[in-house]
């Protein structure tokens, strides 16, 4: 648990895509039924580096995400365990009805990984910048929805979902994330991780906004405000007990996500609190806007996704 202020939050040594590729390789080598599917983005997610080792278990479907999702359903229908990857908008926005009908409605076992989430799409710009993917997948009955904040967490969840039947969506970035967890950390579905305890406000974040929230907590501490920070990597199911417990303790909640405030983490937390523990709240996230090109740091400023924006939101409800 991170308790001290003025800690520097350093990027991990390993990129998220390296973790994706190395974990898939391990899963595929241990289980011949694991099949990874790509839509001409293998070199973007580093699976091109493992294809020589698992040629029959890594299929480049070409630039046809709708068909790729259907092929994954067909593989699942015959007992295979497909891991489908593309950029987040392609595996959700573009192939949503295929994911919904051929995957979820047909009750098949399909794992989906959406990368380059939100502002981390950087110079691919608005067409490639998904702020909606968590909301879309969260709407699917019984789907499991994760947003990962750290490479250890990504590796752990990729292994964990191999053994769990159903639709699992993992949202990630491709490059380096801030290192948050030791290698032996474990993660459960429907649970959040309390990374820092404070009695004045609870900041609930996911993905890249977890590190931003920790920075915000440091800034708040300098001003005498003690914040709890929760990494809510399991967006659905969500840790209702933890949310209610900390809302009740701190009487103020701010959510922070690299996603539209509608549909994702902010919505999910609001739904829990409005029914079980009405609490003063603010949601940090993208509001009625599309993506655009730019460096992630610039885009975080533009969409008000920085530690300072979190601090401002906290002060509004203190």
């Amino acid at each position: 648990m991170i308790q001290t202020s003025s800690k520097t939050y350093e990027l991990d040594d390993i990129e998220m895509r390296q973790m994706y590729a190395s974990t898939l390789l391990e899963l595929a080598q241990n289980n011949p039924n694991v099949i990874a599917l790509e839509a001409d983005l293998m070199s973007a997610i580093s699976t091109n580096k493992i294809i020589g080792k698992i040629p029959g278990q890594l299929i480049n479907s070409g630039i046809m995400e709708a068909n790729m999702m259907g092929v994954a359903a067909g593989l699942a229908l015959t007992g295979k365990i497909p891991y489908v990857h593309s950029f987040a908008q392609f595996v959700t926005r573009r192939a949503f009805d295929q994911l919904f009908v051929s995957g979820a409605y047909a009750q098949l076992n399909v794992k989906i990984v959406g990368s380059d989430s939100g502002v981390t799409a950087e110079h691919n710009g608005g067409t490639h910048m998904a702020f909606e993917d968590l909301g879309l997948v969260r709407l699917i009955p019984n789907a499991n929805v994760y947003e990962v904040s750290d490479a250890v967490q990504l590796g752990y969840l990729l292994r964990k979902i191999e053994k769990e039947y159903g639709i699992h969506y993992i949202r990630t970035i491709r490059k380096k994330a801030v290192k948050l967890y030791d290698e032996n950390e474990t993660f459960e579905s429907g649970k959040g991780k309390v990374l820092r305890e404070g009695s004045d406000v609870t900041i609930i974040a996911s993905g890249i906004m977890v590190a931003e929230s920790l920075k915000a907590a440091d800034l708040l501490q300098e001003q005498g405000i003690n914040a709890t920070v929760i990494d809510m990597y399991s967006i659905k199911p969500i840790d209702k007990d933890l949310i209610v417990n900390y809302a009740d303790k701190t009487k103020a909640v701010v959510t922070a996500e690299n996603h539209n405030v509608i549909g994702g983490l902010g919505s999910a937390v609001s739904e829990v609190l409005s029914e079980h523990c009405p609490t003063r709240m603010r949601r940090i996230g993208v509001k009625e806007q599309f993506g655009q090109v730019g460096k992630a740091e610039y885009l975080k400023e533009f969409y008000k996704l920085t530690a300072n924006d979190i601090v401002t939101a906290v002060k509004e409800i203190q």
């Binding site: 046809m64 709708a66 068909n67 259907g70 092929v71 359903a73 067909g74 047909a106």
Partner: protein, 285 residues
């Protein structure tokens, strides 16, 4: 021809009879596109496919995916006749709480291999099934029927590219070329041009047959099985409402809510099929 054509004709007539009876019992439904695939279903389930009604999930079975899901009633009649479920179940078609919805659902109906109905999707799943068996060096065949209207969907052509690239030679795609879609003739809505040329260009071993000829369909499948490096496309020259002349000629025959004249024609068709099967000594369904 090494099959008992007479037996297959009786099976075909029984499928058509039960399809008409279940749709008539419901009162409305997709008559047109259920009837146009009856001969293909009869050949597949009567002669070609390896399935076990007592073990619908048998791993070594051949798979059938009705990508044009609105033909569900025709498939249900076939599965009931094969013994996957009792005939009485057919008369629950589309009733509240039924196991037989308009569009097939793998989680509701024994013998239904895949949930379909959102057009263009079933064929991708069929391709995935064929790929899976190829990757595992298994001999299962995958059969799928797509509609000519369904081929408006771009996803189908993604699936065909993928199937040809991976040389899925145990995948059979039947195109129900009944020349009509919901709003009218396919050539007036989106002209399909020449399906044979298109499938050849997409890398399929392609044949065109009379879709009301059991013999031609069977022979085409046998020819398709003999080649080793391409998926197979069989273009079925069919008619919506096939096998019931009145329905074949009816202009708006995709989905029918029978008027009194339609009602009379449907009842007549049912009665004629019952008499025909009775004379053949095959009325025990």
């Amino acid at each position: 021809m090494d099959i008992d054509l007479r037996k297959l004709e009786i099976f075909r007539d029984k499928i058509r009879l039960l399809t008409l009876k279940e749709l008539h019992h419901m009162g409305f439904g997709h008559y047109g596109g259920s009837l146009s695939i009856i001969e293909t279903l009869a050949v597949l389930y009567g002669e070609v496919m390896k399935v076990d009604p007592n073990n619908p999930d048998w791993e070594a079975r051949d798979y059938f995916i009705l990508s044009k899901g609105h033909g569900g009633p025709g498939l249900y009649a076939t599965l009931a006749l094969k013994g996957f479920f009792p005939e009485e179940v057919l008369y629950t078609l589309n009733q509240n709480g039924t196991t037989l919805p308009s569009h097939p659902d793998r989680n509701l109906t024994p013998g239904v291999d895949m949930t379909t109905g959102s057009l263009g999707q079933g064929i991708s799943v069929a391709v995935g099934v064929a790929l899976s068996h190829q990757l595992s060096n298994k001999g299962n065949y995958t059969y799928s029927i797509v509609g000519d209207g369904e081929l408006n969907e771009g996803q189908c052509w993604e699936a065909f590219q993928f199937a040809a690239h991976h040389k899925l030679n145990r995948l059979f795609v039947f195109v129900d070329d009944n020349k009509k879609q919901l709003d009218g003739p396919t050539k007036d809505i989106i002209d399909p041009l020449d399906f044979v040329e298109k499938f050849k260009a997409f890398g399929f071993y392609t044949m065109k047959v009379n879709g009301s000829s059991l013999e031609q369909i069977y022979k085409a499948i046998q020819k398709g099985k003999a080649q080793t490096d391409k998926p197979v496309a069989i273009i079925l020259d069919t008619m919506k409402g096939q096998g019931v002349p009145y329905l074949e000629e009816k202009a708006d025959n995709h989905h029918i809510r029978p008027n009194p004249k339609d009602e009379e024609a449907i009842l007549t068709a049912i009665s004629e099929l019952e008499i025909k099967l009775g004379k053949a000594g095959a009325m025990t369904i």
